[in-house]
Each structure stands twice: as structure tokens, then as C-alpha cells.
Symmetry: C2
Subunit: 196 residues, 2 copies
């Protein structure tokens, strides 16, 4: 057999090149040629690792989700024994596009969201991710508020909207975090009030 290369590494490099293009110029600017150029490869090589553009896109989105999971795990590292409220805040803040890496991921996520609107397979994956996130958030809220399920949906919808505002530059990071903190406080405080 001839020389061996790490296929996974090649695919990752291609996917990252794709993200860069999608984040800076939108998913519609993503073409085999552009991706190949950005990755420093020939078009043929990209074709060699992904039989079609759709396959490449699929791989890139799956890898993106994995990166988000990783980012969440990293953001929550060492908080196993922290107060649920602090875990909750860390989780939600990690979801916001506050640094370059998170911004790229969110931008690509939005681009994929658009595609999901007309692709039931993608939409189902999206919903599943949201449901899982909501479960995690609701878990943090257990005992902190009445109806943790609704509260979780509320917080996630808020984070979603804040992310849009951040991407557009309509909100500053400080403003977005302040809004989020105020909401968390209000939700946890009001429960105390209601249970008194």
C-alpha cells in the first residue's frame, strides 16, 4: 500500500475552510472551488474526500455541532459542584457569540438554520438539539422556579434573540449579558416571591 494520510484531519481542514467562508461571506458563497482555495488544496482533492457538495456540507454541520458541545463542556468545566444558578448562567453565556470562535460557529449555525427551514432532515436535527438544550437548562432551573420547562424555553428563546442582536452589532456583549443576567435574576427571584 502507498503512503497513508489522516482522512479525518483532511476532512476537518476542509470543514474549517468552509466555516470561514460561510462566516465571512455567507453559505451561498461556499463552492467547491472556494473551499479548496481556502483550504489550500486542489478542487480534485476536496472531491476526493467528499463525493458531493451536500456530503461536504453535512459533514461540516455535524462537526460544527460537535464543536459546540465541546465548547459547552469547556465552559462548564469544573462547575459540577457550583450552584445551579451559576451553572445556568455559564451555560447560557457560552451560547452567546461573544468571541471570534463562537461568532463563527453562530454565523454558520444561522446559515444552516436557513437551510433547515426547507430541509426536514436538518430541521429535525436542529429541533433535537434545542430540545436537549432545553432539558439541560430546565435541569438547572429545578427548584429555582416554578415551571422550569417554560422558563427554559423562555431563556433559550431570549438567548437566540440576543445572539441575533450580537451578530448584527445591534447589541454590545455587555448589553446582552446584562439583559441575560437581569432575566435570570427576575426568574429566580420571582419564584422565591411566589413561594413565600
Amino acid at each position: 500500500m502507498p503512503k497513508k494520510v489522516d482522512h479525518e484531519q483532511r476532512r476537518t481542514r476542509i470543514a474549517e475552510a468552509l466555516w470561514g467562508i460561510a462566516a465571512s461571506r455567507g453559505l451561498e458563497a461556499v463552492s467547491m472551488r472556494e473551499v479548496a482555495t481556502a483550504a489550500g488544496m486542489s478542487i480534485g482533492l476536496v472531491q476526493h474526500y467528499f463525493a458531493s457538495k451536500d456530503e461536504m456540507l453535512l459533514y461540516a454541520t455535524v462537526l460544527l455541532r460537535d464543536r459546540l458541545s465541546e465548547r459547552l463542556r469547556h465552559g462548564l468545566a469544573g462547575m459540577e459542584s457550583a450552584a445551579p444558578r451559576d451553572v445556568l448562567r455559564a451555560l447560557l453565556v457560552t451560547l452567546l457569540p461573544l468571541d471570534a470562535e463562537a461568532r463563527t460557529e453562530t454565523l454558520v449555525g444561522v446559515a444552516v438554520f436557513i437551510r433547515a427551514l426547507n430541509d426536514e432532515t436538518l430541521a429535525a436535527r436542529y429541533r433535537e438539539g434545542q430540545t436537549r438544550l432545553a432539558a439541560a437548562v430546565a435541569g438547572c432551573l429545578q427548584g429555582l422556579t416554578t415551571d422550569p420547562g417554560t422558563a427554559a424555553d423562555t431563556l433559550l428563546a431570549l438567548v437566540d434573540g440576543l445572539a441575533s442582536g450580537l451578530l448584527l452589532g445591534h447589541h454590545t456583549p455587555e448589553h446582552a449579558i446584562s439583559i441575560l443576567d437581569r432575566q435570570i435574576s427576575q426568574m429566580t427571584e420571582s419564584s422565591v416571591r411566589l413561594t413565600e
Copy 2:
């Protein structure tokens, strides 16, 4: 002079055809040919009314914003003397994609949002619209809560996130409205509590 036609009507028909394509298959599926076919025109006729694709897109987005204004005005009709809280609720509910028309508008809005992320002109228009909306919402909240500005940003971000969930089918209309109502109640109630 030869026969006269209503240019504005022609342009509107083209824009509506564009919306239909953008809403059902995404903005990237929008091409001169597709729009012409959907509008029941020749490609040349579309070219006759819009010198370029960008010009067509611009017109379609401006008209979209006008339609949203109209929808808001219609949703708030006859509420001039209603309680601010009811006006607020009507305004926010009108922003949600609850019927087919609103859904199309929101879908196109999201598609344009994506483009705005890499187009500073569009982004500026988007931010201006958001700012104006926030001012209207804050106006409704005057006296109902402390810091109406932050409350307005919170509510609009929440509505944004709820809209995403509705588009994807992750939330049902009833669920989204219930979340919104709960939030409005919490915000207005808590202020009463704080000012007591």
C-alpha cells in the same frame, strides 16, 4: 405615446414572486429566471423593471419592510385608547409568524438578515428598524416597569427567538404566545412589586 402600465404594480408582482421563492426555497434559490417564471413573466420583462438583481432584491426588501409596518398598523388599529399593556401585547404578537402571511414575511426577513450580516448597508437598515421597534415597545412599557429600555430589548430578543422556534416548528403558536404572555406578566408584575 403608447399604452401605459402601472410600473409600481409590476414591481410589486415581481417582489411578491421573489418572496414566494425565498420563503419556500431560500434566498439562494432566487434567480432572475426563477422570479420571472414565478411571476408569469419573461426574463426580459423582469430586467426591464429592475436593471440588476441587486436592485430587485433591494426593492423587495424595502417593500417587505413597508408590509411589516402595514401589518403592525393593522394589528394595532383601534387600540389607541387601550391600556399600554394590551397595546404592547398586540404589538409583540403581531411580530410573531403566526399566519401564512406573517410566516412568509418572517422567512424572507431571516434570509435578508443573513445577507445583512455581510452587508453593512443592509445591517444599518436592520438596526435602525430594531431601534425604532424598541422605542415603540419602550413607550408602551413606560410606567409599567422600571428601565423600559432594557425591558424592551429583552422582549424583542425574546420575540426574535420565539419566531425562530415557530419557523422551525419547535414551538407551537400557543406555546410561543404563552411564553410571551408569561414574560409580559412577569415584567409588569415585578415592577409593581418593586415600586410598592
